[in-house]
Structure formats: C-alpha cells, structure tokens
Symmetry: C2
Subunit: 367 residues, 2 copies
Amino acid sequence: MNLRPALFGLLTLLATATTHGAEFNWKYATVVPPNFPVFGTGANRLAKAIETMSQGRISVKVYGAGELVNAFEVFDAVSRGTVEMGQGAPYFWKGKIPAAQLLATTPFGMTAEESNAWFLYGGGMELWREAYAPFGIYPVLGGNTGPQMGGWFNKEINSLADLQGLKIRVPGLGGEVYSRAGATTVNLPGSEIFPALQAGTIDATDWIAPYNDLAFGLNKAARYYYWPGWHEPGGTIEVLFNQEALDGLPDDLREIVVRAAEASGHEVLADFTANNHRALQVLLADDKVELKQFPPQVIEKFRELTSEVIQELIDSDPLAARIHQSQTEFFDQVTAWQRISTQKLMDARMPANDQPAEAKSEPIDNK
Amino acid sequence: MNLRPALFGLLTLLATATTHGAEFNWKYATVVPPNFPVFGTGANRLAKAIETMSQGRISVKVYGAGELVNAFEVFDAVSRGTVEMGQGAPYFWKGKIPAAQLLATTPFGMTAEESNAWFLYGGGMELWREAYAPFGIYPVLGGNTGPQMGGWFNKEINSLADLQGLKIRVPGLGGEVYSRAGATTVNLPGSEIFPALQAGTIDATDWIAPYNDLAFGLNKAARYYYWPGWHEPGGTIEVLFNQEALDGLPDDLREIVVRAAEASGHEVLADFTANNHRALQVLLADDKVELKQFPPQVIEKFRELTSEVIQELIDSDPLAARIHQSQTEFFDQVTAWQRISTQKLMDARMPANDQPAEAKSEPIDNK
C-alpha cells in the first residue's frame, strides 16, 4: 500500500491548520523609512516571499528605521538577537569592524557586477562571514546599489580649495578621503540627511543615486548634483541574520530564508538601474538643480587620497589587509577583461555621431 | 491548550517520512553537456536548492543536452510537458517566435545589468510571458552571460571583404547581420561547435566568452579570438517551466521553484564575471591564440546592418515591434544615466598612467 498520497493530504491539512500561527515569528529591521524605494519595498517583498515559500511557518515583520531600533543600531540588534534579521551597508559598522568599509565599496573600485562576482566566486563571502562571525551575524549579499552619484552640494566644487572646511555627509572610505582633503565629514542615517542639509548643518551630502535621492527630496535642499560617484562605484547591501536564529531553523527553512534574500538581492540592482534614469529625468526637469561634473584635478586628488586611506587601513588591520589583497588580485584581472568587454561595448554602441548634440563632447551638464 | 508544538512535531515526523519519495518528480533539460560550467553546474545547484527548500517534496533531475532531448528540442519538450523545466536562450526558438531574438540580446544593445533591469522593472517579463504563453511555457529570468566575445576565427577579418563567404556559427540577430554582410551563417548547439570548427565545416564561431569557450577547447580549433562581442552585449539565459506543471504545485512550492530559479540567475552573471577573466589569462598563455579587435569599419558596417535587420523584424512581426519599442525607450534613458555613472566610473578608475604599458593606447592585442 502506498501511504504517500494519504500522508500528503494529512500534511496539507496540518500545514493549513498551523498557518494560523507561525512556528517562527521573525523581526526584520531596516535602515530606511517604511516602504522606502528599493530598501523598504524590497524588504517587504522578501518578507512576503519567505512567508509564501515556508507556507506561513515563518512570519517576517518588517520594521522601518526608528520603529524598533535606529538605523545605526541594526547590527547590534541582530547581534543580540533582538531582531532575527537586519539590513544595512557594511561601512555603517566601521566603528566595530574597520575592514567592513572595504566590503561596502571602494572608491574607484569595483562596479556592482564585479563586486557581486568577487563576493560569490572570488572569496568575498568567506571573508565577509569571517568578519561578522565574532558578532554572531551571518551576512547574505542582499544586492548592490549600482553606481552612485557624487552627491548634493550647496556650493560649487571648482578646485581643491572649495573642499576646505566643507561640511559633508559621506560614510565609509569616501568620507575618510573627504576628511583628508580638508572637509569635515559626518555620517548620518538616511532620514537625517534632508533636515541637516536644509538647516545648513551640512553643506553637502552623498546619499545613493537619483531614484533614492529624489525619494528624500534632496533636490529641495541643495542645488548642485555632482557626478561621477567616484567614492561608491557599487554599494553593497547586506541582509544580516542572527546566527543562532538561523541555526534554529530546520534545513528547508534555512535554505528558504537565505535563498530568498539572495533572490531579493538580484531584484535590488535591477530596481536601481531601471529607476535611476527615470528619476534623473525628473531631477533635471527641476530648474533649481544643476548637474555638475567634478573637475579632473579634484578627481585626481581623490584618487591619490584613496590610496593613502586604504594603505593606512590595511597597515592597521590584518583582516582589512587580507580583504584588500583578495580584492586587488580580483580587480586587476577583472578590469583587464572589462577593457575588452563591457567598457568597449558601451563605447561601441554610442559613437559620437549617435549621441544627442549636447552630449557629443563631455556629457552632460544640464546648465 | 496550545496544539502548535505538538502539530509541529507531528508535521516534522510526517515530512521526514515523505522525503523517501518526492511528491513531485521533475525533469530539467539543459542545453549543454552535463556539469558544463555555469549552465550545467548552475542547473545542478538549482535542482539541489529546490529539493532542500521543499524538504524533498520536489525532486529535480537534471539532464544534459542529448541525454533526454537535444538542445534545440528543449522548448518543445517543456511545451509538451515531456519535461517540467528547461533551460535555454530565447533566440534558439526564433523559428517559432521571431520576437524571441530581441529577448535574447540585441547587437550594440543592453548590457546584462540593463537587460535585467528592463526585464524586471521595465516591462520585459510581461512581454516575455506573453510571447511564450501560447506554448504553455512560463519563462523565468535565469541569469545573463554578461558581455560575450566576438568569437573564434580561422581567418583574419581585416576588412568587409573578409566576411564574404565566411562560414560562421552565430545565432539570433547577430547571425542575421553576418548573413547580410555576405557570410554564410549556421546555428549549431554548443556541443557541435568544436567538431564543426575543427573539421572546417565552419570557418568561425561565436560561443560565449572565455570561461565557456575554454571549456569547449575552442582555442584548439581556431587561432584568432576577436573582440568586442558587439552581437551579444548581454545574453539572456532562461529557465522555462511547463505552465501546467507549475500550476499543479501548491502555492509554497510554486514560489520556491520560481524564486530558486531567480536566485540561481543571480549567481550566473557573477560566475561568468569572475571566471571569464581567469580563463582569458589561460587562453592568452596559449601561443597559438591571437587576440584581435574587429576593425572600426567592420564594426560600423555591423552597426548599420543591425538597424536594417531589426527594422525588417519589427516590420514583419507585431510582437517584435512592441518589444522593440519598449526596449528602445528603456535603452535611450538608461544609456543617458550610464554615461554619467558606470561608463564614467570605469574610465575614472583606470586613467592612462595606471594602466600597464601594453594597454596604454588601444587595449589589447596579445601579439
């Protein structure tokens, strides 16, 4: 006698019965306001996917920044098990883990595509897990922002002199570079940027790129929108799991939450790529916004200072040194490949005679 | 009395009992030899993930090309329900769905990152599902190859004259362009390329990029390795589900197979990006391989012919016209954003004075 159909029927009945109350009630703390584009909406989708895949055996409640813990407290909350899941960017935790800055993004470094490749197939995940293990946290690659913008400025940057005394919000290694260039750097979570910029507490800020910058209305608080985003060519987004909570799941549910987070990460970059350009058009339609390119000599100085800042970090932190070595070996090879592939293809599809007139020389300042 | 813990224990017991035989036994037909890098290994990982997430309720058996059906028969097999899942590239099915060529990749068109964004957030998935629905197939974005190479040639391409009478294997719109340029184009599944090239049945072939080209040993059958891969800036990989089989799953298992395929797709691009550059170094170490760049006038001709080929396709096929319009609108906007982000960042990180001497001018021909 084949018992399987009968067992299946019984299982289904029981499963239905148990979905009225989940076996695991998880909290997921994010670093943005509720329903904020990509970070918030993506977290909602991830929570829903986990519930559907687990047939309701796990329920995931998403919290915006400040609802349960503040943005910069997410790491601690996951570490302590106050929440089972958290969201972040590795450089937020540089006070605890200096090497995390290299996991977030490196100025003039890897793009999203290259960074994902390093994490998944270049040894990056192993180093990341090693870095977070002492805190009882298991990180999953939850996507990448793609290339960011240089940021919003209330004064023009025409030379290195304009950086002196500039009060700017920039996290991670980019912030260190600004400090060394003579600026005063602060780090603020997303929701505090707009009021600080509007009040003049800061003169300038990075955030992400057009889609999210528009969502915070940064164009209403600053005039000049600078490119390129030299300091964040591809910002890592992380989904953090409390290790004990993860270990407490049966195998199938553990695979479900990790795989769902990975799949959600895939959507993140596509969401940014698709919506940044739409938002850029909206921002450029705002008469008070001027799109500006950093002058070459300023970029060159940023490059020099980036080398200094990284050198200092790896001299003082053995884990950072190992991460940097792994990244550098990967980067050197992948850029050789990119020169004959992505970079050449992007050039080949857009020769000068196919570009709109205003973009024929150096693209594009809108004013 | 709280029945949940007791029910959970019973459920676990029953679930364990049923994993001895799966409730759903699925077949997954791929288009490459068993365990072939990325396509084969990725399919194996996907099958295993589905089994783990479903606690063995679905078993997925992966078949290499020719083991159950040949590579070019996968679409039909999924359509008929001979297999529940299949793998492919949309241009393989152009005989049935001419518009599928635009879903695969467009010469001088979108990169992997842009293409993923169009599919997931630009209306692409909806058009793709519409295209495959008449065949009872539900497609999922199973990743992207990233930028491909121009391919392997047994004669040099110094001018348009060298294309006349060239026998070349290239699928999709790229193949149409070669035909129009005077070449004789054939389409062959991967496993038939090497013998055809070695026997001189064809003079040249594209395949994918260094990682997979090395796996087929194409460097042993041709001398010149051309770049850039103008005809495939980002090749779509698909996971195909038989719609009835998908509909026959309970909600949780349906979400599991679809999400697992999406997560697997995320790994695909990272795998290519990480391993292409490693394989390129191996190929360049082969004395018999010469890396060559297509001459500018040949690329320009390919560009002209691409426009003609697309125009003809959209004039003759209303679905292709709708897909093309959606892609074009997206492409025009996303390239404006890329010019000030990815493209500029790739330039900024690699100024001439940081490049190895041999790459300072036009990178890189190894001979």
